[in-house]
């Protein structure tokens, strides 16, 4: 008899591991159950499979909880049952011996309290009152509701122009999104249950780059109505485009030298090449939109008098301050300032300088990587939490690292060290320790370590953007925390015919959300002006071919070699090849046709 054994996985254990992976994949495809009660029951059930059976609350309690939840689903429960469920969940949380039990109890308690209205609806109406739809997963993940399975099928059929045409039904900036969209659609992709989610963004990019020819979208008869769009970013452009298709005459008033908003003044050219952005914007303008550049507007009421309606989409272009000593010193700059200058073609020269970038979001990565391209000798990204807590996308962080940026996690800036010449000579930071979870996020606190000074010539502050809404406030536009207030229809209360949307209304968000805001506003402005123009689906979609389950990995886009790319502002990403795109398209499960799509999904043929 050997005294000890090396750990070996049995065949059963291997299958167990595979099943665990499958659970993880399913959960990653967001919606586990469309009904909160069913979800809670499944959750409790899954938790109870982990129980060792030693202790009462976990062994019996979780099982009882499941039974009572089942009663709620089958119409056997009363309001008393709901009290019983809550009491039992609380007791499991309070009295279980280990995390298997008390975590299950805590989560069940959270669900029962959080979904209380729905639980009551089940008991009183014998029906689920939760309104989460189970339509096509990717489409419901896309803020603009782009018909993703439709355009993937078109790309697969070799009809790229039709694919772009279909995308433009809901999103007039397909190429921009093909290059920089955060693709929340992919989070929902049901293909993830099988292997990996579809590479949706790359397919979109491919379609835009392989159009067989241009086309002109159908336009409604001119209405004679004139609309002013304040701000030429994605929300403004989207609103202007759809209003123009609806027959209205739009003038975009842009404060800066160029259109594009954050697409130009926030996203660096190596991710979104200028000429491609300009090309896409020009296509929109060619529908017949007037532009007045270098035009600043704040008096909305006066503007409204000259136009039949006004759309405010001023974005979030003001910077946020650290509020630290030395922040006024020469060499301290905000991300917004820097990227704005770069957007106007004024490239700074950081040759030989050491740059500290403060922040952990995508903008911090953009600033860091732009600094590298401006010749910086060393770029450090200073973040007070862990790298894992950064809000920047993983590929942005990886990209910055590959280009030589240093990630200094768990360092909170204390003050900026300024030399006698009034110039920055370092950033003083306090090392942190990660700890208690607050509002769902582990928060840092000062570690028992001494301050550290990071020597540098430049400090770039990238801790978020603010909205320059003060001047508008003075002209009667309501704001809350700096954001422009609107009703659900995007109308600004108290100002007849004035609408608003995009970053200035939501706070800094994604391109695709801004595009959708513009689209929604266009529909509502059209309605406000007394029309009911429809933007319609005008391409037919290839019919579905059932192919059964075939596992196949996801093709990823590649990047130019870091050493090479970091010396220029040329595009860094290589799109998928035709071979890769065709394989990617063949992976689409066509949820517009299979599953719930056949019943309630399908497609939005007009809006």
């Amino acid at each position: 008899m050997a005294r000890m054994h090396v750990m070996e996985r049995s065949e059963a254990q291997q299958i167990m591991d595979e099943l665990h992976d499958a659970v993880g994949r399913r959960l990653a495809v967001s919606s586990l159950a469309p009904c909160p009660v069913e979800f809670t029951m499944a959750f409790v059930d899954m938790c109870s499979t982990q129980s060792c059976g030693k202790c009462t609350p976990c062994r019996v309690g979780l099982r009882m909880l499941r039974h009572m939840l089942s009663d709620v689903l089958t119409g056997k429960a009363t309001m008393q049952t709901l009290d019983d469920i809550e009491r039992l969940a609380r007791s499991i949380y309070l009295s279980a011996d280990c995390a298997i039990g008390y975590e299950a109890g805590a989560m069940a308690l959270k669900a029962i309290r959080g979904f209380h209205d729905d639980f009551v609806h089940h008991v009183t109406q014998r029906a689920c009152g939760f309104t989460q739809s189970q339509l096509v997963p990717c489409v419901s993940g896309c803020p603009a509701g782009v018909d993703i399975p439709g355009y993937i099928a078109l790309v697969r059929a070799g009809r790229n122009t039709d694919a772009v045409r279909l995308i433009r039904k809901d999103n007039p900036l397909p190429l921009v999104c093909g290059l920089v969209c955060e693709h929340p659609c992919e989070m929902n992709c049901r293909r993830g249950m099988v292997d990996d989610p579809m590479n949706i963004r790359a397919i979109k990019r491919y379609a835009c780059e392989h159009m067989e020819g241009d086309y002109a979208p159908s336009m409604a008869e001119p209405t004679g109505k004139r609309i002013a769009v304040v701000g030429g970013g994605p929300a403004g452009l989207s609103c202007a485009y759809y209003l123009t298709l609806m027959g209205h005459h739009v003038t975009i008033l842009e404060q800066r030298h160029h259109l594009g908003g954050m697409l130009r003044y926030g996203i660096p050219a190596y991710r979104l090449p200028r000429e491609r952005l300009e090309g896409e914007i020009q296509w929109i303008l060619d529908r017949g939109i007037d532009v007045e550049l270098d035009t600043s507007v704040t008096d909305v009421a006066a503007l409204r008098e000259k136009y039949d309606a006004v759309y405010l989409a001023i974005g979030a272009h003001a910077d946020k301050k650290l509020g630290l000593e030395g922040e006024d010193a020469d060499g301290v700059e905000s991300a917004v300032q820097m990227l704005r200058a770069v957007g106007d073609g004024e490239m700074p020269d950081y040759t030989g300088q050491r740059v500290c970038v403060v922040g952990g979001g995508n903008v911090a990565m953009d600033v860091a990587r732009t600094s590298v391209r401006c010749g910086a000798e060393k770029v450090s990204i200073i973040y007070r939490r862990r790298v894992a807590d950064m809000t920047a996308q993983d590929e942005e962080i990886a990209g910055a690292q590959a280009e030589g940026c240093e990630l200094l996690e768990l360092n909170a800036p204390l003050r900026i060290s300024v030399g006698e010449d009034g110039k920055v000579n370092g950033l003083v930071v306090q090392p942190q320790i990660i700890g208690e979870v607050k509002r769902g996020r582990p928060s840092p606190r000062p570690a028992d370590k001494p301050e550290v000074t990071i020597p540098c010539e430049r400090v770039m502050v990238a801790i978020g953007q603010a909205i320059d809404s003060k001047p508008f406030e003075e002209h009667g536009v309501q704001t809350k925390w700096g954001r422009i207030v609107t009703d659900a229809a995007a109308e600004v209360p108290g100002l007849d015919g004035v609408f608003s949307g995009g970053d200035c209304q939501t706070g800094p968000a994604t391109v695709i959300r801004a595009i959708n805001a513009g689209k929604v506003a266009a529909g509502n402005i059209d309605g406000y002006l007394g029309f009911e123009h429809k933007i319609e689906l005008d391409v037919d979609i290839p019919q579905v071919q059932f192919q059964g389950k075939m596992e196949c990995g996801r093709c990823e886009t590649t990047f130019r070699e870091a050493e090479e790319r970091k010396g220029d502002f040329d595009e860094i990403e290589n799109g998928l090849t035709t071979e890769e795109v065709m394989q990617e398209c063949s992976r689409c499960l066509r949820c517009d046709h299979f599953g719930y799509g056949a019943f309630r999904g399908g497609r939005i043929v007009e809006w």
């Binding site: 119409g75 014998r126 029906a127 689920c128 339509l135 037919d540 579905v544 939005i604 043929v605």
Partner: protein, 607 residues
């Protein structure tokens, strides 16, 4: 912005002809053919359960699955399409396994007490299950046990519901009424009144199309047969039964007789031995309706010429339509004819003129009608349908299905009946009255009489036949000696909705509009015998037009019984007595939506 969701299938695929092999046999079909249709074309039937052509092609039951060579998993044949070279097996070992398993799963959710089911012997589920030879059954029964108010004319029994979604689709797509919805999700999915509401609180038109399209006995009419037996058993009560025009086309379908062996006179012969005292003909009151409605139409046109509503006069024969227009188009209700439906006119005549003529106390009359309709059960119970003597003018309504069950209960030898005439008077209806049972029939009948009133001439045979046919929305303009009459005919409430929307938006304008709730009119009524997967309105309608063609009198004003009844009792159309007995106030009772609107418009307490 309401988002409409539907799949648009590619037209391009229809042009390709592809070759497929079904169980070894080759067939050629267009590229947009479903696998199901290709199999059937190859002579190989594939069972279906949830499938309803054009309405419910969602592949939910998974009974129609087939094996496609090269694909490991099975394919639903009803909503997948052929590909060139596809090889299909309709009865492979995999198919046998899955088809049988899926039917057994449906049986587990189904109350299989077929002996006490309204659809016993006429159930698609039983047919599929019996065909598969399912005898031993391994699963535990899990029934829904949802409550239902049994006083409502339409009964839902979720213990028999197999969640095929047909009722939801019919109600949404064909009848634009959205009564049914999915009320629980995931493994507890239920189909019930949308949102879990009480059926009394929603605007169900009681068209009954969900019943005639249900594959099982989950939906049925309220069975009122026992009330009829009670009346027949009471020696103090005189039972008078009227039979609607379209019933003659379908009453003996259960016995599968040819049209000449199953005429209305055969039906009279079948009913007589049951003990009915008088058997009379709703065709008579259809003619009476024309006299009133035709006169009313000319009055309505005069009013419109002098600044009336500008909307057409709508027919009021169909209670499903009246319920629909009251619920959804309050602005059109005043343009709905005040003439009662033929059923209610007959009821009022029976308990006044007819009772006087027979010398019996109207309070001792049991007035029964046999209708192709479920909404008629509600109509006879409206609080203002009691004009003759204070009691309900019609006491009870049976659908054709209930009558068919009564004949079976009495073991009537339906195949060997000798035809018998209706009781006179009130036993005769003209060809115009007969065609009331088909879409366009009321319109045509009214035009014939209106033509006579306007021109003094006898209308030429079939001069108004443009309004015939199954098209959902028909229109025509007729010239009556210089008076132009613009008419529209709609059947199916989705078509009615489109008609009403177009009228309200000013897109179209008519003088007279006929609407019937059921597609094809009463011949396609929700109270007709059920033949799963077959739409019989067309065939039944042909029978009516055939009878009209050979009728002695083809115009309502020529009906000797009508002439006599005006001479003896009513004087002339729209006389004071006619207004009291033959017309009604369409605002005299309320649909749920009307209650809600009234409550919303009522000044709040304290104002």
């Amino acid at each position: 912005m309401v988002e409409q969701l539907k799949t648009k299938v590619s037209a391009r695929d229809a042009e390709r002809i592809v070759t497929v092999t079904v169980d070894g046999k080759q067939v050629q079909v267009p590229g947009n053919t479903t696998i199901l249709d290709a199999c059937r074309k190859a002579g190989q039937n594939v069972p279906t359960l949830c499938y309803l052509r054009g309405i419910n092609e969602i592949g939910s039951c998974r009974v129609c699955v087939v094996e496609v060579e090269g694909v490991d998993q099975l394919v639903a044949s009803c909503n997948n399409y052929v590909l060139d070279g596809m090889s299909i097996k309709t009865n492979s070992p995999k198919v046998r396994l899955a088809r049988r398993e899926n039917v057994m799963l449906l049986l587990a959710q189904h109350d299989t007490t077929c002996t006490t089911c309204a659809r016993g012997g006429n159930c698609k589920l039983a047919e599929v299950s019996n065909d598969l030879g399912i005898i031993d059954f391994p699963y535990k029964s899990i029934l829904a046990n949802t409550p239902w108010p049994h006083d409502f004319p339409l009964i839902r029994n979720n213990d028999k519901c197999i969640r095929c979604m047909r009722c939801i689709q019919i109600c949404d797509k064909v009848q634009a009424s959205h009564v049914w919805g999915i009320t629980n999700r995931a493994t507890h999915t239920l189909v019930d009144v949308a949102g879990g509401a009480n059926i009394h609180d929603v605007d169900c038109t009681l068209c009954g199309q969900c019943i005639t399209h249900c594959p099982t006995g989950a939906l049925r009419e309220r069975d009122d047969v026992m009330r009829v037996y009670d009346a027949l058993a009471d020696p103090d009560v005189t039972t008078i039964v009227q039979i609607a025009p379209s019933v003659r086309t379908s009453w003996a379908e259960h016995w599968g007789l040819s049209d000449d062996k199953a005429t209305i006179e055969h039906m009279v012969a079948a009913l007589r031995p049951m003990g009915f005292d008088y058997i009379v003909n709703t065709d008579f009151s259809a003619d009476l309706t024309i006299m009133e409605e035709g006169t009313e139409l000319l009055e309505h046109m005069r009013r419109n010429a002098n600044g009336g509503s500008g909307f057409p006069m709508f027919t009021s024969c169909c209670p499903g339509w009246v319920r629909f227009v009251k619920a959804h188009y309050p602005e059109l209700v005043d343009d709905v004819s005040t003439s009662k439906s033929p059923q209610q006119m007959f009821g009022a005549v029976v308990k006044s003129y007819y009772a006087e003529m027979l010398g019996i106390d109207p309070h001792k009359i049991f007035s029964l009608s046999i209708m192709p309709c479920v909404a008629k059960k509600a109509e006879c119970a409206y609080p203002n349908m009691n004009d003759a003597c204070g009691d309900p003018d019609v006491d009870c309504v049976l659908t054709v299905r209930e009558v068919s069950r009564m004949l079976r209960a009495d073991h009537v030898d339906v195949a060997n009946l000798e035809p018998e005439p209706f009781d006179e008077p009130l036993g005769y209806g003209t060809g115009a009255g007969i065609i009331f049972g088909a879409t366009g029939g009321v319109m045509e009948a009214a035009l014939r009489t209106a033509y006579h009133i306007v021109t003094g001439k006898v209308p030429k045979d079939d001069m108004f036949d443009e309004v015939r046919g199954l098209k959902g929305w028909k229109e025509a303009t007729f010239d009556m000696d210089g008076t132009k009459v613009r008419v529209a005919v709609a059947s199916g409430l989705q078509n009615a909705k489109e008609l009403c929307d177009a009228i309200l938006s000013g897109e179209v304008s008519y003088d007279f509009a006929e609407v019937m709730a059921c597609p094809g009119g009463c011949v396609g009524g929700g109270g007709q015998p059920i033949h799963d997967g077959e739409e019989l309105a067309g065939a039944r309608g042909k029978v009516l037009y055939g009878l009209d063609r050979v009728a002695k009198y083809r115009n309502s004003y020529e009906n000797p019984d009508i002439v006599r009844c005006y001479e003896e009792y009513f004087g002339e159309p729209m006389s004071e007595r006619a207004e009291r007995l033959l017309h009604t106030d369409q605002h005299g009772w309320m649909m749920p939506a009307e209650w809600i609107r009234q409550a919303e418009e009522a000044p709040a307490a304290g104002e």
